[in-house]
């Protein structure tokens, strides 16, 4: 997968995607404006599908690769390393856990399936064909709110906590995403009734509830896997920013020697490595065990590793890293967009604390 991504999504493609998604008018003082062209490359998406990115965990009999969660996190780590844009987690989960044409389309990389965990913003909704919605664990209601508000209304999820909706009917308002490679929508106040995805995307409707498409979708499992795969993306980013920092520290000279010869820079890099290895261990362990507590731990450590490594990388780069042309900011911003919200983080911490009393 690393070779595939290096070949099909080299750094030039990353920067092209940034530029494509970026309709900034010079001097605006703000960031990318709303409504630019989508940053996901459909051709690349199909290539990912052909390479088995989405069908990785489907049995070979079903046209999949027949691998498990441990292999999936390795692949997602690579994707996170190169900041591959797109609704990777949603599409992978749809291919893995749904049935019918949406699942098949997702597996093949023909469809983009966004993932919504209200009240978090939804990534790539504008480019997506469908949106997979995961409600609160165990609840039958799906929080959603007026864009910009903190109060959320509720919509029916048909009793399962999982829903699949047409992307273009999903009530949400685009915001100026902090991450130029991840367009974002804030979820709207009320969910629409499930409605048919028509022939445009070539697939049938996916309605909530008793629909057989969702029959095998366990919301707890889906949330856990979403958390873990997202953590894997974060680990990839944390590894990349460490590599960038180390390379820069070896090459950049100040005061007559490479800055990596200074203890302060050395120790920043060492701290990054420690964070990375802890987070990576956490993600691999959770992938092997499939354990909920280990997944919670993985998410906490991976979010932390990605955002703090990106910041330390910026610190090592100094002013050179503060420009739009340097990739550092893309890692900082992706880490923010992927990070669990305050509510989810608290929930993970509470789960882990509660387990101590068992």
């Amino acid at each position: 997968m690393r070779e595939l991504l290096a070949g099909r999504f080299p750094r030039e493609a990353l920067r092209a995607a940034v530029d494509a998604g970026d309709a900034l008018e010079t001097g605006s003082g703000g960031a990318s404006v709303v409504g630019g062209p989508p940053v996901v490359d459909r051709v690349l998406w199909r290539e990912l599908g052909e390479a088995g990115f989405f069908a990785l965990r489907l049995p070979e009999a079903d046209g999949g690769v027949g691998l498990g969660l441990p292999e999936a996190v390795l692949v997602f780590e690579e994707a996170g390393r190169v900041l591959l844009p797109g609704p990777l987690v949603g599409t992978h989960l749809a291919a893995t856990h749904l049935t019918g044409p949406v699942a098949a389309g997702a597996a093949a990389g023909e469809l983009l399936v966004a993932l919504a965990l209200p009240p978090a913003p939804v990534g790539h909704l504008g480019a997506a064909d469908a949106v997979l919605v995961l409600g609160e664990p165990g609840s039958q209601e799906l929080g959603a709110g007026e864009p910009g508000s903190q109060e959320f209304g509720s919509g029916e999820l048909g009793g399962t906590g999982v829903g699949l909706f047409a992307a273009d009917g999903y009530p949400a308002a685009e915001i100026r995403s902090v991450d130029p490679l991840t367009p974002l929508h804030l979820p709207g106040s009320v969910l629409p009734p499930a409605r048919a995805l028509d022939g445009g995307a070539g697939v049938e409707a996916a309605s909530a509830g008793a629909d057989p498409v969702l029959a095998g979708a366990d919301p707890v499992l889906l949330r856990r896997e979403a958390a873990l795969l997202t953590a894997a993306l974060q680990v990839g980013s944390a590894g990349r920013t460490l590599a960038m920092a180390v390379q820069h520290a070896r090459q950049r000279e100040q005061f007559g020697r490479p800055i990596g010869a200074f203890q302060a820079v050395k120790h920043l890099c060492a701290d990054m490595l420690v964070r990375l290895e802890m987070a990576r261990t956490a993600v691999y362990a959770a992938a092997v065990s499939g354990d909920g507590f280990e997944t919670a731990a993985a998410r906490l450590l991976a979010d932390d590793a990605a955002s703090r490594n990106a910041r330390d990388c910026l610190q090592v780069f100094g002013g050179m890293g503060f420009t739009w042309e340097a990739d550092v900011h893309l890692h900082i911003k992706r880490s923010w967009v992927l990070a669990a919200g305050r509510g989810d983080t608290e929930r993970h911490e509470e789960e882990l604390a509660g387990e101590l009393l068992q």
């Binding site: 900034l24 008018e25 010079t26 001097g27 605006s28 003082g29 703000g30 960031a31 990318s32 009240p119 978090a120 913003p121 910009g148 903190q150 915001i175 100026r176 995403s177 902090v178 991450d179 974002l184 804030l186 100040q254 005061f255 200074f262 203890q263 302060a264 820079v265 910041r311 910026l314 610190q315 100094g318 002013g319 050179m320 890293g321 503060f322 420009t323 739009w324 042309e325 340097a326 550092v328 900011h329 900082i332 923010w336 967009v337 919200g341 305050r342 509510g343 608290e346």
Partner: protein, 388 residues
């Protein structure tokens, strides 16, 4: 002052407040941030109002056209203008806070006459050409060359992180005039006209998406020798002298602003329910403590500078400046990280000013001496630890 103000200082404050109350409502609307000429005109207009009211160059020496105000008066000025929501110094920053004081201190009479009055009136805008892509923390390793050719220097090289370059008339430029000398000894300070042939300005986009800064490329730009301030190869000292003129006031407005934002964040938390999280609430309490003390430290530093001046000293606050910078850089980042926690999903919107500020805050541990460099300075110069 120490930590309380004298009656005289309070009188100065009252007069300023009253004037601000009169003039601020009459200001024109702020220009679009992308409209550089508009911004320059706006900033020039405000500077002219200050000039007419006698507040221009408040802290400049009287013989340079300033008011010769004490550091504490300068602090009061910065505090009150920030609190009143007055315009920022904007395009006049380098002229008023750096190039002007440098010329006032080190320039010839003729140079002072030529350059200082237009700065005070807001007629001429300066920018700064110090940093280079290859010389970050190690500023003195700059490589932009100036070769003497008759009555001019021929300057070639590039500069970075130049603010307001698009609309500046002059650039205070550090150049290497003696490549053989030790790095601090071969630098000269030049006033370069920005319309000279060979000067190319290219906007530089930061990670926050803004183009407040520019790169500047200099291709055999001729700068008259008479535009050199200070002796040839003495530019490093000339520049360092000026840094001392800040007298602890550099971040007065920012700290006042941070305390205001912190209150806004707390109220936003109260409004959206995140206030109910005791951990978040106590974190806000901790930040309130930090910024309250940072404000006191600012007052203390400025007061120390004033005491030092009165005693015939340099007016450079001792320990306080570096201590302040180290803690403030970090506290500012924490403030906007906490603001993002309060915003929740809305923090992902760069349209929100706190998100833009969060991104900008990342530069605070880097710009004007990384925290690592600052700690070296503190350890070696203040604590007397041996050089590494």
């Amino acid at each position: 002052m120490d930590l309380t103000y004298t009656a005289e200082q309070e009188e100065f404050r009252a007069g300023l407040r009253s004037w601000l109350g009169d003039v601020l409502p009459k200001l024109p609307p702020r220009p679009d941030p992308r409209d550089w000429p508009g911004r320059r005109a706006y900033d020039a207009g405000w500077q002219r109002m200050l000039y007419d009211a006698g507040y221009a160059g408040l802290h400049w020496p009287v013989d340079a056209g300033g008011r010769g105000a004490t550091p504490v008066q300068h602090l009061i000025f910065l505090e009150e203008t920030e609190k009143a929501g007055a315009p920022y110094v904007g395009a006049n920053f380098v002229g008023l806070l750096h190039a002007g004081p440098t010329i006032a201190a080190e320039g010839t009479d003729e140079q002072r006459r030529r350059w200082l009055p237009p700065v005070l009136r807001g007629d001429e805008v300066w920018c700064q050409g110090f940093s280079e892509p290859g010389a970050g923390s190690d500023l003195a390793s700059l490589r932009t060359r100036a070769v003497r050719d008759g009555d001019a220097y021929v300057v070639t090289g590039s500069k970075i992180w130049t603010s307001h370059a698009e609309v500046a008339d002059w650039c205070e430029l550090l150049v290497r005039t003696d490549p053989q000398a030790p790095k601090h000894r071969g630098i000269s300070w030049l006033a370069m006209p920005m319309d000279a042939p060979g000067v190319t300005v290219r906007p530089l986009r930061t990670l926050a998406g803004s183009t407040e800064f520019a790169e500047m490329f200099l291709d055999e730009v001729r700068v008259p020798v008479e535009n050199r301030v200070g002796e040839e190869n003495d530019g490093w000292r000339v520049t360092m002298v000026t840094l001392s003129f800040e007298r602890g006031t550099a971040f007065v407005g920012e700290v006042v602003a941070c305390r205001r934002v912190l209150g806004e964040v707390a109220r936003a938390a109260k409004a959206n329910g995140s206030w109910d999280d005791p951990a978040l609430r106590r974190g806000l309490g901790r930040l309130a403590a930090e910024f309250s003390v940072l404000w006191r430290l600012t007052q203390w530093n400025v007061s120390e500078a004033e005491r030092s001046l009165r005693a015939g000293g340099t007016g450079v606050p001792g320990t306080g400046g570096s201590v302040f910078k180290l803690r403030y850089s970090h506290a500012r980042q924490e403030l906007y990280d906490t603001a993002a926690e309060v915003l929740g999903p809305l923090a992902q919107d760069t349209g929100h000013p706190w998100t833009a500020e969060r991104l900008s805050s990342l530069s605070y541990t880097i710009a004007a001496g990384t925290s690592q460099i600052q700690k070296n300075i503190v350890a070696e110069r203040i604590l007397g630890l041996p050089k590494g």
